[in-house]
Symmetry: C2
Subunit: 199 residues, 2 copies
């Protein structure tokens, strides 16, 4: 399969790439590095990417930004970071990509544990994550040509503890390899409309 991985340099993305490369052709997409550069917040850039890379079987998004702020400091403006990136960036990959993907292809997007198990500073990310998860569930019943869609909801991964661990005291970290397996299951399997929680 020919698979696009967006967010290919991240902790999760780079692990997914490593596993997929054993069997598939992987196009690594990053905001500033990789085989192709993409500004996920721009629908025009997303359209351009799909026009530039042909014959795509699967799209994996392991990216998406959000502002982490106390609720009392969260403003409509700060909240738009998650809206434009984690929420709409990922959804636009599907709205636009549905017209380009090969038949029987798949989309796999990324949500996150805080939508189910809220953390302080996490309200904006929770909003974006849940919006993506329900969009996935709904889009799955309408996608044509056998195209499937799932999302993966990781908890904090062991490899990110030094960076983000303070937000997740008391959460049970998981090895990034377990998270990557959920993406592989989405791509290689036959399920659609699922949100795979890796908690």
């Amino acid at each position: 399969m020919k698979i696009i991985v967006i967010g290919a340099t991240g902790t999760i993305g780079s692990n997914i790439v490593r596993k997929l490369e054993e069997q598939h052709e992987v196009i690594r997409v990053g905001s500033k590095s990789g085989d192709y550069q993409l500004d996920l917040t721009s629908p025009e850039e997303i359209e351009k990417m799909y026009k530039s890379i042909d014959n795509i079987d699967a799209v994996v998004s392991a990216t998406g930004s959000a502002s982490f702020k106390k609720l009392e400091e969260m403003t409509p403006e700060l909240n738009t970071v998650a809206v434009q990136s984690k929420l709409l960036g990922q959804i636009n990959l599907v709205l636009i990509g549905q017209h380009y993907l090969n038949a029987n292809g798949s989309f796999t997007l990324t949500t996150g544990v805080m939508m189910d198990d809220p953390i302080v500073h996490g309200s904006s990310a929770a909003m974006a994550n849940a919006g993506v998860a329900s969009f996935v569930k709904s889009a799955a019943i309408e996608l044509k040509n056998g195209i499937r869609i799932n999302s993966v909801s990781p908890t904090i991964v062991e490899e990110s503890l030094s960076k983000y661990g303070a937000f997740f005291d008391g959460f049970n970290p998981v090895p990034v390899d377990r998270v990557s397996n959920a993406y592989i299951k989405s791509i290689a399997g036959a399920q659609t409309g699922q949100n795979y929680t890796v908690y």
Copy 2:
């Protein structure tokens, strides 16, 4: 209590107003009618409303637009209707309103059944509804001064069957009065972080 109801002329909003008026002072807010006019998509207008109406104990939002379109016809642009109105309009009522509401006040927002039980044409609304529900769950753990927050997720109401029934074949419609009770429970009760499903 002094209670703002946004979307006061809608099928659900007008029923909530009728029930609340028996015991409370209600400020009816609409886009074009009511005691106060508000463009929910404008954070500046929301801030102006909170500056204009003092001593608020509860905010009820029974409003929010979304584009209903087949997924293959849904575009990033059409999707922004739900983002700006149902999702961010409602969330901005909280982000801004948290600094104005009376102590021990409450916010009650509106989600909807299609986030749990998807319908054709409903992917954009599903996204917005779930984003609101998870924001509510997360915001609840951070709101100060005893301020609470819940959402209500109605299914199709009997009173709207002639208008929207075709989208909801096979769903069990509920009387609008049952939906209104969920808002009353949110305002009068002590729970927070809940999404009351009325299915």
